[in-house]
């Protein structure tokens, strides 16, 4: 099999797995609400800026400052007379990319650390888990704040920091799942065949931990979005003039009594995205459990 074929077949397998997850999700009400929300945000992330009625940074200072919702500006305008709808639409891209990249990094690293440590066991495991405990005794937001203050808030640093912060929780979950699978006899059988550890971890154990990993991944993705949005709120997200939902809310606080729409639109955007992911994940989880719930 040449690399191209392998890549194509791997991609096809991923697509099939994704499609079956979608079908699974659509079997529950939670999934039926969550999926469209997630799809909507994905579309925004890809085409938000193109679809937006105005350029997000276009000022209408003279005539349209802090204007309420109207036909011209459905979600109103902000303190510089920028269209809130356009700013919200174009804010999805950076948030979802940065949060997604961070979550993915954390999941990959955490899975490798957790599974290796759990499989290896003994002293190594003890030491690795102590380090993870130490990492986890900081709220993620605090670590992110400290690191980003030192390194400066650019998308790569944000994603990298989230990745590092997520190693510990993902590693913990994957470790305990690995321990459970490791106690099954087929792992002993593989050892007796003389399979190398890497083969046992990734070929024999990993497929059996996928359900756990899928749940953990969706949890991480939604946390990651919460975290990036919170960092934006604290001024450590994507830097102006690009739009950032967290920052929009932060800036709107000064005139919140007079112009609540400036805060409401991005608040709704963050909320619907995270709610969508959580509902979708919940739907998939429920649907998986359905056939098992027999007598």
């Amino acid at each position: 099999m040449n690399p191209l074929d392998a890549a194509v077949s791997a991609a096809a397998a991923l697509l099939r797995a994704g499609a079956s997850l979608v079908r699974l999700a659509l079997r529950t009400p939670a999934g039926r609400i969550g999926l469209p929300l997630v799809v909507l945000h994905m579309v925004l992330a890809l085409f938000g800026e193109t679809l937006a009625p105005y350029p997000p940074t276009e000022f209408h200072i003279e005539d349209h400052q802090l204007e309420g919702p109207s036909l011209q500006f459905p979600f109103g305008t902000d303190q510089f007379g920028r269209d809130v709808l356009s700013r919200v639409m174009s804010g999805a891209t950076s948030l979802i990319t940065v949060a997604g990249a961070g979550a993915l990094l954390g999941i990959v690293l955490g899975t490798v650390v957790g599974m290796s440590s759990g499989y290896k066991g003994g002293r190594t495991d003890e030491v690795v888990m102590r380090i993870m405990d130490a990492l986890m005794s900081f709220p993620s937001l605090l670590i992110a704040l400290l690191v980003l203050t030192s390194l400066g808030p650019n998308p790569i640093n944000i994603a990298g920091t989230i990745g590092v912060v997520f190693i510990a929780p993902v590693a913990r979950v994957m470790r305990s799942s690995t321990l459970a699978v490791k106690s099954l006899e087929f792992v002993d059988a593989a050892r007796l065949r003389g399979e190398p550890n890497v083969y046992i971890i990734f070929r024999e154990i990993l497929p059996n931990t996928l359900p756990v990993l899928a749940v953990e991944a969706s949890v991480r993705f939604s946390y990651s979005i919460l975290l990036v949005a919170s960092l934006g709120f604290l001024g450590l997200g994507v830097q102006p003039p690009s739009s950032d939902w967290g920052l929009m809310i932060s800036e709107s606080r000064i005139f919140i009594t007079g112009a609540p729409w400036v805060a409401l639109a991005p608040a709704g955007a963050v909320a619907s995205l995270v709610i969508g992911i959580n509902l979708l994940a919940d739907g998939i989880k429920q649907a998986r459990e359905l056939p098992k719930r027999e007598a």
Partner: protein, 705 residues
């Protein structure tokens, strides 16, 4: 005070109505569960009766609906199943009872004993209150009387020091003690009907025997009907007065216990009986174990209007596949659901294939185990790294020696905590040993599998207890067989594929199984795939750790026979580990009896199983249930439980429970190894001289209980 209690109990006991009426009548009961994947017909058509004071055994294999039936009688079924037929308690249709009436009945007139006592008891509540709450709910007694009654109950199930027990939590008791507590709880209100759902499954044989004694004792003491549900024919033979056999949700045969075992009239019952390894018939031809081919009629399928056993029955005719048989009475309370009860003969399944003598070759042993020693963990100290030593490491095995000759089978028997699995895992290298030597055909074997070379790995393969977890559920059968071929041979991909198909065929599965997922296979099929995988590297030695204990009796024989055939054809040596003396006796040339990590006795099978034996072997033999109601139970019982794994032995490892303990010498001096003059390889580790042992044991066998 005690008199008032007894008085209250008498009033509750005298509420019986009619003497003629059966206590419990199950009439055409069916239970269908509805799951998202379809209907499951757990019970299809079950009818039987229980009278006061009798024990009815309900036997059948996994999935036959026997447990569902017990819970259906209790009116406790998960979900909202469709229930057909009726259950009458003293003539009262249970379905007509309201929730409050049902609650008043449960724990009071009908009580239940469960399969896993450790799970059936609340882990965070002391034992006393758990027993007391039943009494409080159902009987009108004051607080003092309730406590008194609870103490009485604990004592009545043979537990000494009831006050201490009442103060304990479930995890502080042994499995046998836990089950006694569950029984005490069930007896709390002097029930009319006692349902026991596999109460000894999961307990050690010697513990099981004492619980069975308790059940027999109850029969005489309480005026209740007892339904004893079990998969184990031997257990049922020991306790039941009448036996009901279930298959695929139907009751297929019902008879008084002696009739059922001596003159079975349903082909399935006959089949079941011929699947159990029996004690060697005196000097007679040793016949191969039988198995029932095919698999149970699936519970997901609706009633097909035919005999559900027809597919697997050797005497099935067109009538059997075209029409559903109804139970017919044969007189003498014997009923069978078969069209041809007269033609059912005990050798229906027995083609009396004589077992071919195992070929014995080479004097050089395949495996030598010398002084194997293994402990887990280290001494723990009071302040982590300092302070006095407070807890010794866990002992697993100490000083185990034995040899496995080429083409021979060594059976290792022992109960939980005996160290038998540690021995198995040390041999294959999954558990490193602390000291001792292993030699494979005279060559030193490194301790851990990772240190062994490919040849050594290929030479020693393992078969595990649980076939479902020994095959990776996410990878197809193909993977499990091709992978060892890839590791252990230098075949080309095509050759491997061919060889894999051959291996599958050698275990009775065709090539189409290659692409199945393990979870689509039955337990027996999974274990056969595991065998094929073990055979893949042409090993010299296979270590089989309880290979049939997770399987139903009707398929056990398939696996045992496959192992035997492979050995005869290839001269492979086996180390066969089991808690089941019957199975070990059937497969082994030599036996090692382990207790608490020590060898109690070892030697050729027949020598070990006949007198003189180590007192522990004697107790094991005496405890093992035999599927023969006429078997005279020998009264050797072990009290207490296996020593804690942290305990260190000063004298004999068995001294704390030995029924033949001599005295201080057993407590203070490790037992010497004695070999019998007639058989130099037969060793017994005991202080009692062999002649004395033989005399004691011959006497106790000849005096029937």
């Amino acid at each position: 005070m005690a008199t008032t209690i007894t008085a209250t109990l008498e009033t509750t006991a005298t509420r019986t109505a009619d003497a003629d009426q059966p206590l419990l009548k199950v009439d055409g009961l069916s239970v269908t569960f509805f799951t998202p994947t379809g209907a499951v017909h757990a019970v299809r058509d079950a009818s039987f009766e229980i009278k006061r004071g009798e024990v009815v055994g309900l036997v059948g294999e996994s999935g036959c609906g026997k447990s569902t039936m017990a819970y259906a009688i209790m009116g406790y079924l998960p979900g909202e199943p469709e229930v057909g037929g009726a259950v009458y308690l003293d003539g009262q249709n249970m379905a007509e009872l309201g929730p409050a009436e049902l609650r008043a009945l449960r724990g009071n007139r009908i009580a239940m004993v469960y399969q896993h006592p450790a799970l059936a008891l609340n882990p965070t509540m002391r034992i006393g209150p758990q027993i007391e709450e039943v009494i409080k709910v159902h009987l009108d007694l004051n607080a003092v009387q309730v406590t008194e009654r609870a103490m009485e109950l604990i004592e009545s199930v043979g537990l000494p020091d009831p006050e201490r027990i009442a103060q304990s939590y479930a995890h502080q008791l042994s499995g046998g003690q836990q089950q006694r507590i569950v029984i005490a709880m069930a007896l709390a209100c002097d029930p009319d009907l006692l349902l026991m759902d596999e109460p000894t499954t999961g307990l050690d044989v010697t513990t099981e025997a004492t619980i069975l004694d308790l059940v027999a004792d109850l029969k005489g003491r309480v005026n209740a009907g007892i339904l004893y549900v079990s998969h184990n024919l031997g257990v049922v033979a020991r306790v039941a007065d009448r036996v009901v056999v279930m298959y695929a949700g139907q009751t297929v045969e019902e008879a008084p216990v002696r009739n059922l075992f001596k003159d079975p009239r349903h082909p399935y019952t006959v089949g079941l009986l011929s699947c159990v390894p029996k004690p060697v018939a005196d000097e007679g031809a040793v016949t191969r174990l039988q198995s029932i081919q095919g698999s149970v009629f699936p519970s997901t399928q609706a009633d097909p209007g035919m005999c559900l056993f027809a597919d697997r029955c050797p005497m099935a005719t067109d009538r059997c596949t075209g029409e559903a048989p109804a139970p017919v009475s044969l007189g003498g309370a014997h009923e069978t659901r078969c069209f041809y009860p007269g033609e059912v003969s005990p050798d229906l399944w027995d083609e009396s294939v004589e077992r071919e003598a195992p070929h014995e070759n080479g004097k050089e042993p395949t495996l030598t185990v010398k002084g194997l020693h293994r402990v887990y963990g280290q001494w723990q100290r009071k302040y982590l790294f300092f302070g006095p030593k407070v807890k010794p490491p866990v002992r697993a095995v100490e000083n185990v020696d034995f040899n496995v000759g080429a083409g021979r089978t060594v059976g290792i028997v022992g109960e939980s905590g005996s160290g038998k699995s540690t021995v198995a895992r040390s041999i294959v290298g999954l558990v490193p040993r602390d000291s001792g030597d292993l030699e494979l055909r005279g060559e030193d074997l490194p301790a851990e599998t990772d240190e062994r070379n490919a040849g050594q790995k290929a030479s020693i393969r393992m078969v595990f207890q649980n076939p479902t977890s020994s095959l990776n559920p996410k990878l197809p059968v193909r993977h499990n067989i091709l992978r060892p071929l890839q590791k252990f041979t230098d075949m080309s991909a095509k050759e491997r594929e061919e060889r894999a198909c051959e291996l599958l065929e050698s275990v009775g599965l065709d090539a189409s199984y290659m692409d199945r997922q393990p979870l689509q296979l039955s337990g027996g099929q999974q274990q056969r795939v595991a065998l094929a995988a073990a055979f893949a590297g042409d090993p010299d030695l296979i270590v089989a750790d309880e290979p049939v204990s997770a399987l139903d009796v009707s398929v056990q024989a398939q696996v045992l026979n496959l192992l035997e055939d492979h050995q005869r054809e290839n001269g492979t040596s086996y180390v066969f580990i089991s808690h089941d003396l019957g199975v070990v006796r059937y497969v082994s040339d030599e036996i090692v009896v382990l207790y608490a990590g020590h060898v109690a006795e070892a030697g050729p099978t027949e020598d070990v199983l006949s007198t003189p034996s180590h007192p522990y072997t004697e107790a094991l033999l005496s405890a093992a249930p035999v599927p023969d109601p006429d078997a005279i139970p020998t009264p050797i019982r072990l009290s207490g439980s296996v020593p804690k794994q942290h305990e260190q032995f000063k004298g004999c490892f068995f001294a704390s429970r030995c029924p033949r303990k001599l005295g201080d010498v057993c407590d203070n001096t490790p037992p010497p190894m004695q070999t019998s003059p007639g058989s130099p390889t037969h060793e017994i580790h005991c202080h009692i001289p062999l002649e004395e042992l033989a005399r004691l044991q011959d006497n106790s066998v000849t005096t029937p209980a």
